[in-house]
């Protein structure tokens, strides 16, 4: 369980495509998926990714402008490995017309809200609807209530998250990027829910759509 191998995030020369050793996304033992993170600004999307990829938490972390690209591979118990190619998006209000650029072709969407902010929970519901309309039909969606360490400031009940996720066929989890609570569990659960390699498409190498942002 847990992080099998950690790809160096900076100075890495191993993230190229196509890559001879990993055999692309078609190999039954080595799955490669495109994952997109969506949600209001400030809910902790980048913190979740940085905790997952680098094992770090930095409360004063800088902003994400546009979309940041990171990857991380995990090994499952059945000895398959899943390489997540993660698009950590920001400024979706700004680049609303651009969001499809990041989520189209994604096999996984992780929609994040902040349990202390009901507004961010409504925004998460907006993204779920958006993905149901425009995302890949077999996209795996996870609803994540982040900042679970801030229990005393909670404004979105666990039950609200659970119910909404159930209704929409999503996987639900509450996490804390700060304490690392449930972060690896989130990605492991996603990995388990991925369609098995027999019917998998190589999402990671599918081209981004040609549409241009009309601001």
């Amino acid at each position: 369980m847990g992080c099998g191998s950690s790809f160096p995030d900076r100075g890495s020369r191993h993230m190229g495509r196509p890559h001879p050793e990993d055999g692309g996304g078609h190999d039954a033992r080595n799955i490669r998926v495109k994952l997109v993170l969506l949600g209001d600004s400030g809910v902790g999307k980048s913190c979740i990714v940085l905790r997952f990829v680098r094992g770090q938490f930095d409360a004063t972390s800088k902003v994400t402008v546009g979309a940041s690209f990171l990857s991380q591979t995990i090994a499952l118990q059945d000895s398959t490995t899943v390489k997540f190619e993660i698009w950590d998006t920001a400024g979706q209000e700004r680049y609303a017309a651009l969001a499809p650029l990041y989520y189209r072709g994604a096999a996984v969407a992780v929609i994040v809200y902040d349990i202390t902010s009901p507004e961010s929970f409504s925004k998460a519901q907006y993204w779920v609807k958006e993905l149901q309309k425009h995302g890949s039909p077999d996209i795996v969606m996870a609803l994540v209530g982040n900042k679970a360490d801030l229990q005393e400031k909670r404004e979105v009940a666990v039950q609200d998250g659970t119910e909404y996720a159930e209704k929409n066929g999503m996987f639900f989890i509450e996490t804390s990027a700060k304490t690392a609570d449930n972060i690896n569990e989130l990605f492991e659960e996603i990995a388990k829910r991925l369609p098995r390699p027999s019917d998998i498409v190589d999402y990671a190498t599918s081209k981004l759509p040609p549409d241009v942002l009309a601001a």
């Binding site: 004063t60 902003v63 994400t64 402008v65 940041s68 400024g91 081209k207 981004l208």
Partner: protein
């Protein structure tokens, strides 16, 4: 004790390479006072056809039913209460990115005491950005600023500057976006206006100028959600106004590197430009290692400044983002592929295609291979540690440079060097610091700070002095000037402007004028000797 002289008529225009030496006789002209009159003064543009829109009157979201004279009274009274002592003197070394004092508003004493405020608001008076305090709590204050601007606009004029005691209120109207700076830092109007222009430019970088259309559809449009999460870009830009000379020189600076190293970087970037990349830029912090553009594409130094600020403020090792270059095309997004090779060195590949991520990633991998093979990245790290030109290393005049930046290292760490009028601390003749700006290259080189300019506070004060010097040399009403010798209790400042370059030098306040002039000639020769290490040659963004 201020001594200012200028000469606007140089009999022999100096030419590059064969510089007529700067001679003391140039300073013998009648001294002319460049100080602007103190006291309250309002500068209006008198162009009767200037009002950009007459439709604002009906849109005034201002709840203040006051006349402008009352408004000005309010403003004036508020400013009078401000003391100029900042309770928390700014220290660059401890500067933390991000917005501070967000709990303040215009009722807070601490907020009123801030030396320099920046505000961005919409033409209906809605707050968009404030350097200090919570924008939403400043709605009333924004409405007041909007009332002043629209009142003058309704009279067929534009308000540009209001002086109130030690304070200047500078206004900049950019279509539906209003920018205001309230400052008691004694910076020239032109500098503050330039800073507002850059803040507006940073907004354009994030949103393009087509954001104006949102205001056409809905004049009461609230722009703050569109800028959500970008406060850091603005706070780091505002911070750079006090440490980065590029913000007023409108030029960029290069990381000092051996000529062959920079050539190697340029060659591989050129390959990517040939494969459809519009601009390929390799930078180390805010310094350029190399840059290449597709044919006929040119990059303005201000765009580079804003782009570097955008990238360095964001948390990323690899990213793909829409970005607009205001001077290149303010109406359209480009797409930037950004990759950090280490904490300092990063590559930006700009393209017009939104689906180029994987292509640009491949480009980066081949660029990275070459950079590693030719040691560009390790040389860049070494240059960061070694630093640039040091005034202590200024060679004597007849000099043939061969060592790194012509360095003849002196034991600069001996703290108790004797302070003599003709030697002082620092370099020869009491030279403390210089900036050399090449007009053709759009590049500048700034010497490293050394004793006694070694605290952030002193560095900021020197940059402010240079800024003032720059503004006075480029003053359209009084200039253009060719030379200026200025002496006050802090420095002797010497400025020399030719069609090829501008030199700004700071000396010990007791420095001898003739010696200082001689030293400036030596600096120019030194820069010339090492120019292929400190400048990117043959690739001026304006002359591909």
């Amino acid at each position: 004790m201020s001594e200012t002289s200028s000469s606007a008529h140089d009999p022999e225009p100096p030419i590059r390479l064969n510089l007529p030496p700067l001679s003391p006789s140039l300073f013998d002209a009648e001294p002319s006072e460049l100080q602007q009159p103190n006291g309250s003064a309002v500068r209006h543009s008198s162009d009767p056809s200037s009002p950009t829109s007459s439709g604002y009157a009906g849109e005034r979201g201002s709840s203040t039913a006051t006349t402008v004279s009352q408004v000005e009274d309010i403003l004036h009274n508020e400013i009078q209460e401000i003391t100029i002592h900042d309770p928390q003197p700014l220290s660059h070394s401890s500067w933390l990115p991000g917005k501070r004092h967000s709990d303040e508003d215009d009722a807070s004493i601490s907020w009123r005491r801030r030396k320099k405020h920046f505000f961005v608001l919409s033409h209906s008076g809605k707050p968009i950005y404030s350097r200090y305090g919570d924008e939403h709590k400043l709605a009333g204050f924004s409405a007041t600023l909007q009332a002043i601007i629209s009142f003058v606009e309704n009279g067929g004029d534009n308000v540009k500057l209001v002086r109130a005691g030690k304070h200047q209120v500078v206004f900049l109207v950019k279509g539906p976006i209003y920018l205001v700076c309230i400052s008691c830092t004694e910076e020239p109007y032109e500098s503050l206006r330039g800073q507002l222009e850059l803040i507006h430019g940073q907004i354009i970088v994030i949103l393009t100028k087509s954001v104006n259309r949102c205001f056409e559809k809905n004049p009461k449009f609230d722009m703050t959600p569109l800028l959500g999460g970008t406060e850091l870009l603005f706070s780091s830009l505002v911070h750079s106004f006090s440490w980065n000379p590029a913000t007023f020189l409108h030029a960029y600076t290069c990381l000092p590197l051996a000529y062959a190293t920079r050539q190697a970087a340029g060659a591989i970037l050129q390959d990517s430009a040939d494969s459809g990349v519009l601009f390929a830029i390799l930078m180390c912090r805010h310094k350029v290692i190399s840059l290449v553009g597709a044919q006929k594409a040119s990059l303005h130094p201000d765009d580079m400044l804003l782009l570097a600020n955008f990238v360095m403020s964001s948390e990323t090792s690899e990213a793909f983002s829409p970005v607009c270059l205001p001077r290149y095309n303010a109406l359209a997004f480009l797409y930037a592929y950004i990759h950090f090779f280490d904490d300092d060195t990063y590559l930006m590949l700009l393209t017009t295609s939104s689906d180029a991520f994987y292509h640009l990633k491949d480009c980066r991998i081949s660029i990275e291979n070459v950079l590693l093979k030719s040691n560009v990245l390790s040389e860049a790290q070494r240059s960061l540690i070694d630093g640039g030109m040091r005034v202590e290393d200024l060679p004597p005049l007849p000099h043939s440079g061969s060592s790194h930046l012509g360095q003849h290292r002196l034991p600069s760490d001996s703290p108790e060097r004797l302070r003599e009028p003709d030697c002082g601390i620092g370099g020869a003749a009491g030279l403390w610091h210089f900036i050399y700006r090449s007009i053709y290259l759009d590049q500048y080189i700034s010497s490293e700070f050394s004793s006694p300019i070694n605290t952030p506070k002193q560095q900021k004060r020197l940059y402010r002095a240079y800024q003032k010097l720059f503004a006075s040399m480029h003053d359209k009403g009084l200039g253009p000037h060719k030379t200026q010798f200025r002496k006050d209790e802090n420095y002797v400042l010497l400025c020399w402007v030719t069609p090829d370059f501008e030199l700004y030098a700071a000396f010990d306040p007791l420095a001898d004028k003739a010696l200082a002039i001689k030293t400036c000639n030596r600096v120019c020769q030194w820069v010339k000797d090492v120019e292929n290490e400190i400048f990117l040659l043959g690739a001026s963004p304006f002359s591909w």
